[in-house]
């Protein structure tokens, strides 16, 4: 019996475990290691294994005597020496944070309404939220390039309105505003779905009981619905904040020179200047930042949940 159990356990967990070890864990460790290496002559990484011209065989070039020619901390000190990198991180956090907040404010009433509407309409209403999410990510970005573009009706109307007030026309494209609107737009369903999944499970009897006991609408929300929905709030926030933090396509297409985020710099290092070691340093920093935020979110989430009970 015990043997059967552990066999079943391996049969179930083994395949995904193996796959993710090979195609996620090992590549990530290799990348972390790459942060300590030197860039190659033609970009990429300086090889550690190469063909020895004397023997014609592949040989490990690095050994105890010469490791300093192959391993370095320079890439890390470069990150901290120039403040532009840290500033770029802060700016990206700011973008992702505002995006998360706006998503939460927009998604909560909607998720609540769907969860409380008659059962037969819920599927349709939630499907209507998911549908745009099913359309390609770049199409959704592109749609806003049309809207915010200087020739678009929206931008023209706004500028005509501003002109009436005697204010000079503004450019909507290539601005912080454009980046945040589009970040919200592409991530909004990620916030609605976990919130809805959570709110839908709430026992309405709790709210009725509170009402019978004289709680106002606001009290019922703040004392019952909100604390109970916190797992959904944290799940949704994580699902929005983290991808938004590492985004590079949106700032690339809509942000202009001023709207760059960490993702753009990482992409630059890997594909344009081909400095893989420094690109890896930036990636490690981004990973650490994300882990820190996730850990923080989990701690707060857990604490609040406990207080609510």
């Amino acid at each position: 019996m015990a043997k059967n159990k552990s066999l079943g356990r391996w049969l179930i967990s083994g395949p995904p475990l193996l796959y993710l070890l090979i195609f996620f864990a090992i590549p990530t460790l290799i990348m972390a290691f790459a942060a300590f290496r030197f860039p190659g002559d033609y970009g990429g990484l300086l090889p550690l294994i190469d063909i020895n011209p004397d023997t014609g065989k592949n040989e490990l070039l690095i050994h105890a005597g010469n490791w300093q020619e192959y391993l370095t901390f320079e890439n890390f000190s470069r990150f901290f020496e120039d403040s532009i990198y840290v500033e770029l991180f802060i700016k990206s956090f700011w973008y992702a944070g505002i995006t998360t907040l706006v998503c939460l404010l927009m998604a909560y009433p909607l998720a609540w309404l769907i969860a409380r509407s008659p059962k037969k309409y819920r599927d349709l209403l939630i499907l209507l939220v998911i549908l745009p999410f099913w359309s390609n990510f770049l199409i959704r970005v592109y749609a806003w390039m049309i809207i915010l573009g200087p020739q678009g009706y929206f931008a023209m109307t706004i500028n005509q309105g501003l002109a009436l007030l005697g204010i000079a026309p503004i450019q909507l494209m290539y601005s912080h505003f454009a980046v945040i609107v589009v970040l919200v737009y592409v991530h909004l369903p990620f916030m609605v779905l976990p919130l809805y999944a959570n709110l839908e499970k709430h026992d309405v009897a709790l709210l009725d009981a509170a009402q019978d006991l004289g709680a106002s609408g606001w009290q019922r929300f703040w004392k019952i619905t909100w604390p109970l929905s916190l797992p959904g709030v944290w799940a949704g926030s994580a699902l929005v904040f983290i991808p938004a933090l590492g985004m590079f396509a949106v700032p690339d297409l809509l942000g202009g020179t001023d709207g760059m985020m960490i993702g753009n710099l990482i992409k630059q290092q890997f594909l344009d200047s081909r400095d893989w070691p420094f690109g890896s340093v930036l990636s490690i920093m981004l990973t650490l930042a994300v882990l820190m935020m996730a850990g923080l979110g989990m701690l707060i989430g857990r604490g609040k949940q406990r207080n609510a009970l």
Partner: protein, 258 residues
């Protein structure tokens, strides 16, 4: 009191729905506009669609995208369902970390890590590397959907079946499986969309070997905003819309909340 509250809620909801749909409607509308610019409405035309049909690059990209998405969806659903089951059933340490971190970190990180990995293995970047990468990031999404379905399941049902004499396998097949099926189907659909939609990881792992629709669209909109992009976008939206409708017919329960 109650009706006033719901009036505000409805207003907020309609605003959000408008926010979600108006941009996409604009894309579709301009795909029929007889002007090179996405600005003034000039007249109705199909010519942008005509241009697409003869765009060889676009057709190849579409084919690549579909192949990758189908293979990814299948593999990720199998592996993700196993992962979801394992995480629900057993107290595991490593698996949940491996399953959840690819989701918990920005896509670009996985993209660059896999780029280094594939280049180190001397693999030619192309369809295979893209598919392998897609499966890796889709497993977690499927696993989460399946696991949350399992968590929402009343354990008493399985216990009742066991009390009534069902073997563990019977209890799984007759009770657990039908209950989590909507989760599995939802996970498969999710993996398909994530794959066909993916730009970032594909961007890093595709090399010059394989262009997908997102890569094609990206290179087009970087250069100029043309109605041809509106046309391909409209077609893509039509495809995904059809897929969802088929899915909801095949597995109505997948889209039903409970």
């Amino acid at each position: 009191m109650h009706s006033k509250q719901s009036k505000w809620l409805w207003a907020a909801a309609i605003f959000v729905y408008g926010f979600l749909y108006v941009p996409l409607i604009i894309v579709v509308a301009y795909s029929f506009n007889d002007s090179k610019l996405n600005a003034e409405w000039v007249g109705f035309t199909f010519k942008w669609y005509g241009l697409l049909i003869h765009n060889e690059q676009m057709l190849v990209a579409a084919r690549n995208s579909l192949i990758i998405a189908v293979v990814t969806s299948f593999c990720a659903t199998v592996l993700g369902t196993l992962a979801g089951l394992a995480m629900h059933k057993y107290k595991l340490r490593v698996l949940p970390i491996l399953v959840l971190t690819p989701i918990a970190i920005p896509e670009i990180l996985m993209g660059v890590a896999l780029l280094i990995f594939f280049v180190m293995l001397n693999m030619t970047l192309g369809m295979v590397s893209v598919t392998l990468a897609h499966i890796a990031f889709c497993i977690g999404f499927v696993a989460i959907v399946v696991r949350s379905r399992l968590q929402g399941m009343d354990e008493a049902l399985v216990e009742a079946a066991r009390d009534l004499g069902a073997t563990p396998i019977q209890a799984f097949r007759l009770v657990t499986m039908p209950l989590i099926m909507p989760g599995i189907i939802a996970g498969a659909l999710m993996a398909f969309t994530l794959s066909i939609d993916d730009f970032v990881i594909t961007f890093f792992t595709a090399g010059a070997g394989a262009s997908t629709l997102p890569l094609q669209i990206y290179s087009m909109i970087r250069i100029a905003v043309t109605p041809e992009v509106n046309a391909i976008s409209t077609l893509l939206m039509l495809l995904t819309l059809t897929l969802i409708l088929i899915a909801s017919k095949v597995a109505p329960s997948a889209l039903r909340a409970k």
